[in-house]
């Protein structure tokens, strides 16, 4: 619809003012002036600063999809964990110009009114990242994968806020290490499940003491790697069939 297009033009113009004015109504008003609209248009945005942040998240997702397509050849040459790190890096680099005000954006997203939309956008982002590294599985791992990656991404995002190394070098190192930790954990879970299903006939052995201890340790490791609360984990929308 026409109004939505106009609103998006305003938000797009507003992004250029974010580094100086922050994620605020003032930035949106300045954006409105740039596209020859009266700042009174602010009244049409229901959750003003949140609208700006959400617009940025949506735009970045589209840019990520495009960038991944362009660089698909280079990505294919990499190992899984390197691929994940590269895609995450591409996405996080989009936040670099706004990094001085990104903490503000995070606090806006954490606001209870804005939280549902923010969580949904992040879930979609994680799906997109997994999809872009060539993961097509639809087994039970889906939710844990999304949650695990979400944890890594959020940790990297927060780390980037106080990273003053040139080109955010330290953040990329951090990201890669966290992904490596998590991939191992994921493989272990998958392996265990496979072996469990294969070896159902050996259930007397598995139900022995050592089997139970191993299962408990595994659960702990997954829990630590998840990095998200159970509540947000459960809120993620279900995938299609």
């Amino acid at each position: 619809k026409e109004e939505d297009d106009e609103k998006r033009r305003v938000l797009n113009a507003a992004l250029t003012y974010v580094p100086t004015l922050g994620w605020t109504e003032a930035a949106i008003a300045a954006g409105a002036r740039d596209v020859n609209l009266s700042p009174a248009i602010l009244g049409a945005f229901h959750r003003k600063e949140a609208a700006l942040v959400e617009y940025f998240m949506d735009e970045s997702l589209d840019e990520l999809t495009d960038a991944v397509e362009e660089q698909s050849e280079e990505l294919e040459k990499l190992v899984l964990h390197e691929r994940l790190a590269k895609v995450m890096r591409i996405r996080l680099e989009m936040q670099a110009p706004y990094i001085s005000k990104w903490a503000q954006a995070l606090s806006i997203q954490a606001n209870p009114i804005n939280l549902p939309v923010a969580m949904k956008q992040r879930a979609v982002l994680m799906d997109e990242i997994w999809h872009s590294v060539g993961d097509r599985s639809t087994d039970w791992d889906f939710y844990s994968k999304r949650a695990i990656l979400g944890g890594v991404y959020t940790a990297a995002e927060v780390y980037m806020l106080t990273d003053y190394s040139p080109g955010f070098r330290d953040t990329w190192t951090f990201t890669e290490r966290r992904i490596i930790d998590v991939i191992d954990c994921r493989k272990t879970a998958k392996e265990v499940m496979q072996r469990l299903s294969e070896s159902w006939k050996f259930r007397p052995v598995l139900l022995s003491g050592s089997g139970m201890v191993q299962a408990a340790q595994l659960a702990q490791a997954i829990g630590a790697g998840l990095g998200n609360t159970i509540a947000s984990f459960l809120k993620q929308p279900r995938p299609g069939p």
Partner: protein, 291 residues
């Protein structure tokens, strides 16, 4: 129409009796529950307001039980005025809305810590709130009240005598347009809406606060009783003017319902048209944007 030309020429609301001695063929309008020739309506409305002007606040308090202040606060908070704004308040002769807009802008100026590079005072000085009313007596009352509030010499506040159906402002010049408790008195509502659309800038906001229709079953009966039995009686006792109050109450019932009025606003060219009922529909705030 001869009536319209005469109004424009003299700029004052004319007494109905001695000007319109002939019936024009242009049609009839509603003056409360009575039907009157179209070109007489403005004059008759003018007479009503000239007589109630000095007691306008009192009249509002009687009709709304003091709630009109809160409704007007709500209207201005929806508007979200900003420094440097060009705002037009139509049919707001006594200045209620204009004062609230200015107060909001000045309090915002003090609170904003971040505009260091722009000269704040300059931006605030660019603010213009125009108060347009067809009735000179109402404007006089408004100017008086501005003086007592200390806003008498303020360049940001401009009093203009004019007709909502034929505004003298330039196209695309206003960030905001408000009309509070005024649009039901206009003879051709669609013309007023089109004028509002014309003077607003792109992205500008139209806001209308008006007494509207109550549909909730029991409350509707109470409200009707209060309107038709209580208000004119109090009007007679307090302001000695039963007829003006009878007109006012009737004109509310004749005004289009919320959805119909919203449709009229859309037809005038506005987008994103919404309305909000206050007190179950006793009052409604309609909002639209020019895009």
């Amino acid at each position: 129409m001869r009536g319209a030309l005469l109004r424009a020429a003299t700029g004052k609301a004319l007494r109905a009796r001695w000007i319109h001695s002939e019936r024009s063929s242009s049609g009839v309008a509603n003056f409360g529950f009575r039907e009157v020739p179209e070109d007489e309506k403005a004059g008759m409305v003018g007479a009503v307001f000239s007589s109630v002007a000095s007691n306008y606040d009192l009249m509002n308090d009687i009709m709304s039980g003091g709630l009109h202040r809160l409704w007007k606060d709500r209207l201005v908070s929806e508007l979200q005025p900003f420094p440097g704004m060009q705002h037009l308040d139509v049919a707001g002769g006594t200045g209620d809305i204009a004062f609230r807009v200015l107060d909001t802008i000045y309090s915002k100026e003090q609170r904003s810590p971040q505009k260091k590079e722009v000269n704040e005072k300059e931006v605030v000085d660019e603010t213009r709130v125009y108060v347009c009313d067809i009735n000179a007596s109402m404007l006089d009352v408004g100017r008086q009240r501005a003086k007592t509030r200390g806003l008498g010499e303020l360049p940001s506040l401009v009093w203009v005598e004019g007709d909502a159906e034929a505004l003298t402002f330039a196209d695309d010049s206003m960030d905001g347009y408000t009309i509070a408790f005024g649009i039901r008195n206009v003879t051709h509502i669609d013309k007023a809406l089109r004028e509002a659309h014309r003077v607003l800038k792109r992205g500008g906001r139209f806001l209308c606060l008006e007494l509207s229709h109550v549909e909730t079953p029991i409350f509707k009966q109470i409200y009707d009783f209060y309107s038709f039995s209580v208000i004119p009686a109090i009007g007679q006792m307090v302001a000695k003017d039963r007829n003006s109050y009878q007109y006012l109450v009737e004109s509310i019932r004749k005004f289009p319902k919320q959805d119909d009025f919203a449709r009229m606003i859309i037809n005038a060219g506005f987008s994103n048209v919404q309305y909000e009922n206050l007190v179950q529909g006793v009052v409604a705030i309609h909002s639209g944007f020019k895009l």
